[in-house]
């Protein structure tokens, strides 16, 4: 089954902070069949060209989570990414360390911040002595209850999502996609006796900093789909703890806003989300925008068929009763 090979140029990020003043990119060209995983190519470079090339790797079957790195700028597992499509699209394969984690050496990054954020969500089953587990037998759990975990048990903690996440990059208070997917896993676990409190606590601890940009879901090699589980957490958090934060206030405020005219009342939304002090602080920016875009201050005309929209709210939105 000898496959035909293609000359495949690599540019590999190299940096040893103990010796180098600045990073560099080393070039290697290898003849490889298109289906060769990037990891195999990098190990070939280590064996044949440069044994000092430093990276983390272990299982080579996408289950240990060691070899996440940037492959042509995308956060990927090296063992799971074949060279062919990358070569076809980019003409070369650029290998760099993951983002959002400081470089230790070459492709090895310091994952302490990633693990610290993970630990903060209290990633362990919380039990309650007043509601003990059955003695000598398993907790019953139906296949449907197992389905509620979705794909979160597949997470291999490779940190590809963490590397891809713009909120992680911009804000140290954001727990990151992996930690929140893990939180979801505990929240839906019928054995966990702290689900509600977890949902209450996470609101001020960064849940609402998720941008729902879904970059984590694209980066995830195991289809955990963190962004979708974070979305679920937001809805569950509102149900459990109400609007305790600007984020939930804004989401619920937006929903209520649309019920009024079927279309967004922009100025009202700003007032719904901000407290009086924040609103005051926004005033200069508001004036700046309104000068160019005066419509922002205008109350929109209700859409035609608003009664239909209201009927949908009445049927599906528990808050609609209060209005």
């Amino acid at each position: 089954m000898a496959a035909s090979t293609t000359s495949t140029p690599f540019e590999v990020y190299r940096f040893d902070p103990s010796k180098d003043s600045a990073p560099r990119y080393d070039r290697f060209t290898l003849d490889l069949p298109a289906h060769t995983p990037v990891l195999t190519a990098l190990l070939k470079i280590r064996t044949e060209n440069d044994p000092s090339l430093t990276l983390r790797y272990s299982c080579r079957s996408a289950i240990c989570g060691s070899c996440a790195m940037l492959i042509n700028s995308k956060s990927r597992l090296a063992c799971q990414t074949p060279v062919g499509p990358e070569l076809a699209r980019h003409g070369k394969i650029v290998i760099e360390p993951m983002r959002n984690q400081p470089v230790v050496r070459d492709l090895v990054v310091d994952q302490k911040p990633f693990w610290d954020r993970y630990r903060k969500i209290e990633p362990f089953l919380k039990t309650d002595a007043r509601d003990p587990m059955p003695v000598g037998r398993e907790n019953p759990m139906t296949p449907e209850q197992v389905d509620r975990f979705h794909e979160t048990p597949r997470c291999i903690a490779c940190a590809a999502c963490y590397s891809a996440c713009p909120a992680v990059e911009a804000d140290p208070e954001f727990p990151g996609p992996m930690a929140l997917a893990k939180l979801y896993r505990f929240v839906v676990d019928p054995r966990d006796k702290d689900s509600k409190n977890r949902l209450v606590r996470i609101q001020p601890e960064g849940l609402w900093l998720c941008l729902r940009c879904h970059l984590c879901t694209e980066a995830c090699p195991k289809d955990v789909r963190p962004s979708e589980r974070i979305r679920d957490l937001k809805e569950m958090a509102i149900a459990a703890a109400g609007v305790s934060e600007p984020g939930s206030r804004h989401a619920v405020g937006f929903k209520d806003n649309i019920a009024e005219a079927g279309i967004l009342n922009e100025f009202k939304l700003v007032r719904q989300t901000y407290g009086p002090m924040d609103l005051l602080r926004q005033l200069p920016q508001g004036i700046k925008v309104a000068r160019k875009k005066p419509e922002i201050l205008k109350k929109p005309d209700p859409i035609e068929g608003l009664d239909e929209v209201r009927a949908i709210y009445k049927a599906l939105d528990p808050d609609a009763e209060d209005r």
Binding site: S73, K74, R89, P166, A167, E169, A170, D171, W208, L209, C210, L211, R212, C213, H214, L215, T217, E218, A219, R225, E228, R231, K234, E235, I238, E245, P246, G247, S248, H250, A251, V252, F254, K255, I258, G262, I263, L264, E266, L269, V270, Q285, K288, V289, K292, K293, E295, I296, P300, I303, E304, G305, E308, V309, A311, I312, Y313, A315, L316, D317
Partner: protein
């Protein structure tokens, strides 16, 4: 070509220039836009977070309205595109479909799942085609280097949006090339603009916007262009705040996608609503003004 026009909230309000440019471009290319004054907001991702089934039902109503008229939907906003497509996907699940049908039935509305939702970018690149578009260009945007900024919901999640590559798209760059401008490839083009948390933690949102603008600039962009009016708010209306966060001036004009198309097809700055931007587009316009528009 006749399409149900779904402008979304912002294009009808503070982002009116997007609506102006869309109508100009469609008129010019022979795309007939049918208005539906009964469309409601797509939920903008926020209603999905607050109440996901409500979000699906509201959009099922929008999709049903278009279906009843026998028209496919045209969106001009990445987020509207994302939310309406998401509703189509969720309605493929029998349980969700049954629940939504139950809510729509008393309103004498029904939706069978036929309405195709396409963003203007897709209509231009796939339906009309970049070659046909190129032949219509009267003012090639030669010399202008443009960084496309896609907006998350147009692309992701890829499996739900059924989009082109969610991390390495090229349709927008193809369009920019067809208009005679030079597309700038930079990492930020597929990143988030920060808008979803603009009202949650503004400095973080501004910082995220600032990074993407900075990135476009570092790769040589004279201007950015976006198919999403929410990105436009982050990148243009709040660019002064982004400058504050990144600690230096950015001075990056940001076009709505149809504005850029309109420019190449010969529209005036006023027709496209360019004076309504917070960041002046004059410097970018000066680059292309050298080419006279035949009248």
């Amino acid at each position: 070509m006749k399409l149900a026009y779904y402008p979304g909230c912002v294009a009808q309000e503070s982002g009116k220039e997007l609506d102006m440019a869309t109508r100009w471009v469609c008129r010019h290319l022979g795309i007939e836009l049918v208005d539906f004054p009964n469309f409601s907001c797509c939920g903008s991702g926020f209603i999905d977070e607050a109440n996901s089934i409500l979000n699906v039902a509201l959009n099922a109503r929008n999709l049903a309205i278009a279906e009843r008229a026998g028209l496919d939907l045209l969106t001009v906003c990445s987020t509207c595109q994302g939310m309406l497509t998401l509703a189509n996907r969720r309605l493929e699940e029998p349980a969700t479909k049954a629940r939504v049908d139950g809510v729509l039935a008393p309103l004498r509305l029904s939706y069978s799942g036929k309405t195709k939702v396409t963003h203007l970018l897709g209509v231009l690149v796939d339906t009309i085609g970049v070659d046909a578009l190129r032949s219509r260009v009267v003012r090639p945007l030669q010399g202008l280097k443009v960084g496309a900024f896609y907006g998350c919901h147009l692309l992701r999640p890829q499996s739900e949006m059924n989009s082109e590559s969610a991390e390495e798209p090229h349709s927008f760059e193809d369009l920019i090339s067809a208009l005679g401008a030079t597309p700038v490839l930079y990492r930020g083009r597929v990143m988030c603009c920060g808008f979803p948390i603009l009202f949650v933690k503004e400095p973080t949102a501004n910082r995220i916007a600032g990074r993407q603008i900075d990135d476009a600039k570092a790769h040589g962009a004279d201007a950015m262009a976006t198919p999403c009016p929410l990105c436009h708010i982050s990148l243009d209306s709040f660019q002064n705040k982004a400058e504050h966060e990144v600690g230096h001036s950015l001075d990056m004009p940001v076009f709505h996608l149809p504005q850029l198309v309109g420019l190449a097809l010969g529209a005036s700055a006023e027709e496209l609503g360019l004076p309504r931007h917070l960041v002046a587009t004059d410097a970018a316009l000066a680059k292309v003004a050298r080419v006279a528009v035949p009248t």
